[in-house]
Each structure stands twice: as C-alpha cells, then as structure tokens.
Assembly symmetry: C2
DNA sequence: CTGAGTGCAAAGCCTTTGCACCGTT
DNA sequence: AACGGTGCAAAGGCTTTGCACTCAG
C-alpha cells in the first residue's frame, strides 16, 4: 500500500508542476497499476485497461494510454518490449531496476538484477563519450531437460514470476 | 561482395532444405540487404523496400516483409527495436554479434561489442536454469558537453556510424 | 469560470493476409 | 505440370487523434 501512496504523491506533484490535473481517472489507473497484487504482471495497455474497468466501467481505452504516457514521463512506469509485439509496462520503484529473462518455450517472464552488467553498460557508454541514460535488455533462454531451477510453466514447477507472454 | 555471396548461398540452401523457392525477388532483396555500402544502416522494412525498388520497380511491399521474415528464420537477418517504434533489420554475419548504443539527443546509432556482458548474460540465464538463446540490448546515452569521443551528429563530429533514427 | 481531461469513434501506422496470376522446380 | 511466390489491395493489431462534453483548479 505504501508504494501506491508514494506513486500517487509523485504523480500529483508532477501534474501540479506541469499545470496538469489530478483527475479521478489518473488516480484510479495509478492505483490499479501499483496494486501490490499486480506489481509483477507487466500488463499491456489492454490488460491494465481491463483491470481498471473492474473498478470503474466508464474509463476509456484512450485514457489508459494517455495516463500510461504520463506515468512514463514522470518516471513511474517503464515500457518494455518482451517479445510478443506489445508494449508492456511495469511500475518503477526508485532504486529497484531489473531486467528480464523470457523462456523461449513458454514465454514465462523472470526478473533479474545484475549490477555487474549495469556497470559495464555505463563503461561502454563512457567509451563512446556518452553518459548512460537508460537501457533495455531482454534475455531469451531455453530450460534444460535436467533443469531443477527453471520454473518454466511447461516444465511443471511453480512459477516465481507473474507473467507469461505469447512469443511470436 | 564476398558476404553477399555467402548470404545468397546460405539462403539458397535453407530454401532448398525447406522446399521453398529461390526466386528473383528473394535473391534481389538479399543482395540489397547485404550490399557492403549499406551494411550498417539498420534499415526498416520501408527503407529496404525503397532501395530494392531502385533496382526493380515491380517488387511489392509484402514481398519485402515476407523475405525479411525468411532471412530472419535462416539466421541472416536480425530484427531490432532501437527506439523509434519500427522494426529495423541488420545483416547477421556469423560470429559478429554486436549491440547498440543510441544517442538520446539525436538518435545516432553506434554498434559495440562487449564480451564480458555476453558472458554475464549467459551466467544469468544459467542461474535460472536456462540456456541463453538470444538477447536484445540497447543502451541510450547523452553526449557530454566536453565530450571528445562522442561522434553524435548534433555535436559536429564525423559519425562513425551509419544510422540516425528518430526517437519518440 | 476556463482550460485541461475524458470517452467515443475515427483515423494512423506498421504489418499481415486473401486471392488471382506468375514462375521455379 | 504442380505448387509455392508475387503483387495488389484489403484487413488486422495496436496506438493516436479529433471533437464535443465534463470536471478539476
């Protein structure tokens, strides 16, 4: 719940700074997006739209698109392409960056952090005379036969992840 | 020219294996795609289509899409999303993988290789019990004021890269 | 009040598909 | 000759936009 409040505060401040309005819809969409129960689901716009509609039938599709754009602009949402040709969003928690590993077979999405890769990415940017602003990285992998760790759905283990996408 | 021939041979074998046909269009599109003069331009389908049309006016848009799909399937083309909401393709040279760094300001695209990052990506996949099949990584960076190295167009240096995209 | 925001439907993009004709095998 | 390929135009997804109405500040 805490993070929902923080997100709403961030949103509110950002809107005020930009002379935009803190509307019922923007608040609702942000609440749903940051709902702890859905935090790791990497929803597409449509998926989020459907969840929002469960709470308020009158919210329009376009509003969800527009709000997600705002959330992205104020650093609260992170758009990603994981491989199913849709833009998927995830709530951005300050200081909590992670990247994704997608199972080539079933589309299960796993999150991971790898400080050393991030460091090297900064180094690469620096090598070109740039300061790293952002990056997108997605790994695609196949679970081995004798794999104990892979929690890939198709292999029967309980998934520690919350999303499964349909790869092309 | 060598790589064009190699690509055509690879394509031809693959088509034969799959009982598909080695048509005039597929040959032409592949030749244009692997043309040394354009090798690093990361063309979108439309850009490639336009180039192909310079050599044969009758080639259709759909054929370029279909052929690029084939080239991707037989490992000769690599689709990428660099940040301008288009799929851009680059010729795949065996053993020559690289990733991209995009200038946040002007959209200039730079290619780089970083063995250590690749190694760590394999390690991450392994940690989850997966074998790494593929990955997508794009870095976004800003050129510094006092930057000598950044060959970002907007900053007046000769670009060592061949593509500039329009970021959203 | 006033201008930004919303919902709806229409329009835009990029990409795929159906179909009749064409060309490789 | 047989069957996959091609070109064209139409249709599909996802996303954005125009517009009249609504509501936050």
């Amino acid at each position: 719940m805490l993070q929902v409040e923080e997100a709403l505060n961030t949103l509110k401040s950002w809107l005020t700074e930009n002379r935009l309005k803190y509307t019922h819809q923007r608040k609702l969409i942000t609440e749903v997006f940051f709902d702890p129960a859905y935090r790791e689901t990497h929803p597409s716009v449509e998926e989020l739209y459907l969840r929002v509609r469960e709470r308020d039938r009158k919210v329009g599709y376009a509003t969800v698109y527009r709000t997600l754009k705002i959330l992205t602009d104020c650093g609260l949402a992170n758009p990603n392409r994981l491989g199913d040709n849709q833009t998927r969003y995830e709530p951005e928690i300050p200081g909590e960056h992670h990247d994704h590993l997608v199972c080539s077979e079933c589309g299960a999405v796993f999150e991971f952090e790898e400080e050393e890769i991030e460091r090297l990415q900064h180094a690469v940017a620096r090598r070109f005379g740039f300061t790293l602003d952002d990056h997108k990285m997605v790994l695609y992998g196949s679970p081995g036969e004798i794999c104990e760790l892979a929690a890939c759905q198709r292999h029967g283990t309980t998934p520690p992840h919350a999303t499964t996408i349909e790869l092309d």
